[in-house]
Symmetry: D3
Subunit: 226 residues, 6 copies
């Protein structure tokens, strides 16, 4: 099966720097993966999802990309998961995962309370709304912004600010910390070491989960073995 199966990772913003960072992160999983993993950006989209209006503008574009590109699973590589609900509703047979949702759910299996390092205070509001919409407010200690954006987050220089935000979350009771942006994968390991708690990167989390989901769907489709 796996020679034809593929995951399409959609960076829903137009920043090529971010798309490249995601592609680099995904490279870690390609050698291990039984399925092909492709990464693409979203030309015409804003350069990042800093505002609710960015997520609003992007949602229809993500749905169009899913519609026009055949794949066995789609990963929306942005913590805000723009277009996730609309795409799922429109293509009920397809596997479509959102980076943010997936990281949040994984966190529930690795610790008791999670916090999110967010790009900005406005992202914090979006994240709180998402957590409440998911029905998960009782496991969430909050988000802490670093006054940055998706493009800047590709730079290693943000580590200090991220560490400080992470420490704030731990002080508020977080047992696990999520990096709240798809460009932050390179901070996962150093943050984990310095914070002393598990750190989840949403890109790796969602891409590997998508592999599992393809196997689940193909295994179920086969019907009885006995």
């Amino acid at each position: 099966m796996t020679d034809t199966a593929r995951i399409l990772v959609i960076n829903p913003n137009s920043s090529e720097l971010v798309t490249a960072a995601i592609d680099q992160e995904v490279e870690h999983f390609r050698a291990l993966s039984p399925v092909r993993i492709d990464v693409r950006g979203t030309p015409g989209a804003p350069p990042g999802v800093s505002y609710q209006r960015d997520a609003d503008d992007i949602a229809p574009m993500v749905r169009r990309i899913v519609s026009e590109n055949e794949a066995d699973a789609y990963v929306i590589a942005c913590f805000s998961d723009p277009g996730l609900l609309g795409a799922r509703e429109t293509f009920p047979g397809k596997i479509i995962l959102g980076c943010g949702e997936n990281a949040i759910l994984q966190a529930l299996t690795e610790a008791d309370q999670f916090g999110i390092i967010s790009l900005s205070i406005l992202s914090t509001y979006r994240q709180r709304r998402k957590i409440r919409m998911m029905g998960l407010a009782d496991r969430y200690v909050g988000s802490q912004g670093i006054a940055s954006n998706a493009v800047e987050a590709t730079s290693p220089e943000l580590l200090d600010r991220m560490l400080e935000a992470g420490q704030t979350l731990v002080a508020r009771g977080a047992d696990i910390v999520l990096t709240g942006c798809a460009s932050m994968s390179h901070f996962r390991e150093p943050l984990e070491e310095r914070l002393g708690v598990r750190v989840i990167d949403p890109v790796g989390s969602a891409v590997s989960a998508a592999i599992g989901r393809i196997i689940l769907k193909q295994g179920q489709r086969r019907g009885p073995v006995r």
Copy 2:
């Protein structure tokens, strides 16, 4: 990597019939999986988890099995997830998934409200407590018992009772139904067809998720590709 990696699926009860049913279900995923998947039972345990006391008796046994059997991921193949929390706390570096927890979290990504077909009214109480403990009560419409047990659930004759329970859950607002026992995998497809909503089987769901988690962990351990 994957030639040495393996998942150990633990049937936490002592029923060989149930272990065999789980093994048969797992067979669907073996051909697709890049990692080996073994299934084992728990000699000395009760024949199923009908009561809280069964879960209590089994918890230390599961922890011992994890301790004594090297694997890259463990799946506790019982909806009650006996011993899951204790094993995770004791072996913080290991991947340990519970069938029930994993199915519940997957349900959140495929529908809005879930319901569970439970073996009995006592299982219903345990499931409610688990859902509240997970902080997920706002997404849960309830559990509906079929007055059965894990061994009996391996028989195809239960389908009518399961269908009736599923319809009750759908009437209460469930958009997705979970089979609340590891012996119910063979009911997934017929239930899905007849209920008209997605049905999740906890065994397949957890085993395929474990594959994703192993890939995540190995990908992350590799360090930078660039």
Copy 3:
């Protein structure tokens, strides 16, 4: 002040029938209102918000209408409130009310538990997500669909189906019922009489609330009287 102040009521779909129905409903309030009330549609939008994708497509259009049309308050005349959050974030100084949000909050002041008559099962999912996002799940008994759409809802022939849906909600514990679409204003009074509980129409509710908000803002801007 009030000779220049105005409320712009935005029907966020492209159906002229729906826009006309909203305009007719608003007419009841024009004679009583100290501010002008205009109604407009959204050319190019879908004819109604039946799907999440409709709400997704419309959100940027609503924001653009707010941006391009000066008014003292805006009312998004669709129970799904498409674009509400993005518009509020983008224009923080403006008064922007959503029909759905406003009706839900008013319901909290008139009864203990509310239910919503929704156009369809898919609208039900959107409404549940909105209620959870608002943090109000404990006051909500659910939504009941009538398998219709915004255009069809302008017809009086739906009354029987709406009555049945309303009775289901009352049986589930609703002390107040909301009509979950901007085209349903003409059903408010007959439903209230036959159901025996208060019924809120989102259009009238939001338009009259917007009058109050304009007065609040202008009164506060004036500074001290003393």
Copy 4:
């Protein structure tokens, strides 16, 4: 219509200083309002609601005032809303708004999380209970007391203490701050400027909302325009 309609604002305590402060605040809205707005105190009541027992003693008095004074809408001008539930239940056809409830619901439309500056720690307990009773705990960061009372709050000298309390609430995640007493209207604007977040005064909020409600009721009563 509006030449005969009127709102009766009830200061439910006996302090004439507080009644005068409320009347002064209401003056800002009189020129803008299409309905008459009267303010009255509650002779025989305690001078403020510092304790639960004050709210208990006042509740029957408020109900009596509503019973004995004809008006088109009533505003209970105390953040504790004493007697609100009893008056609403007893006079189901009347519009009766509580300052506290109304400010809380308005806050949900202007920001994500609210906090309340309360007069004292005992008021804090009452406010928490109210928020939970309203089902809104997930949007509430808490209350912060200033060790004062309703009479003292009419003095401008409290601003520093209020600012400090407001800053504490913002640090805990409040995006909007409510002044938790009807005597604090004069602090709204300076607090808003210095805190950098929206501040809601419950008196102005409830009085202007009552205007909207009267228009809603009269518009609906008129029946079809077409």
Copy 5:
């Protein structure tokens, strides 16, 4: 100690029939109790708490009774617990238990989900508000009214209606049922037998809990034994 200690059970309504019924119920516990148990009514109060306004009118009276009658513990013998919060706040050193609160908390230790047989639909609203105020909505399946009042509830003829209400609650998921009025003690046993789930009577529950609390307080006051 116990020869001087006493519990004062306050029937907060003026019905002598209800006071006598409570006294009769308490008689079961007198022979077993190490402390004296007195019962008294509230002359001048309404004959029962059917409305929120009854609870409002009674609250100050209960506080006055506590103030004027020395006792080691007070039990407010009405499911609505009128005046409970005000009395506790005013007399922080005293043991004051409410029948409703106590029965609800005991239910949490005997079953998973509770339901309440209430006198009327208006009592249902008050009970929901109390449950939310207590923060317990996730354990509550609802209240079911029997269209009666406190005086009528002393009659054995209500059993059929109570049974029907109890069955409705069990069908909604209640594992334990509370009789929501102090006059219903004589129904506890027959209801328990016929419903097949535990039934809690609030009077016996609160009186026996008060004995425990007096012993707790006196034991703690004694200081170290060693």
Copy 6:
């Protein structure tokens, strides 16, 4: 009756020091109690419940002690309540109280928000899960660990660390503090004095509550007095 009734207090760990401390604490209540109170340890159990695995190992032992020792009520004298749910389910006619559960429910009647001084961060996780499982997250400000264990907690030297933890909880909004271990009884009074809020010790709380429950059961069993 009371000459034959007895409460069995089970220290579910194997530390004789802890058993002796519990016995000493219980001594305060023996002279006041109409029923006999015995205390016993659990040979073969871990010396304390520091880990989830300790609670897991102990649960079946507690059930066995209940099974093999006749008593009118059982108190599990450990804040983690190991085996409580399994024992209750297995012996539905017996009165079985858990120290932790009982202290938490009592706290709800004495203050608005509670916090727990826990032995360690791992206990904190268990306590959070218990609170969520009980459905009480909205009344809980959190737990604060003192990096200790049950044996060490019998020593008076921990007071400073406990005071510091208690102050942290009060700063987070706790109006009442629970000592989260059965060995901490001797700290109750000094903590209460220094913290300025009520402090509940779980042992005394549960033992006195068990007295009330025995009286309730015996009074109800007697049948009608009239």
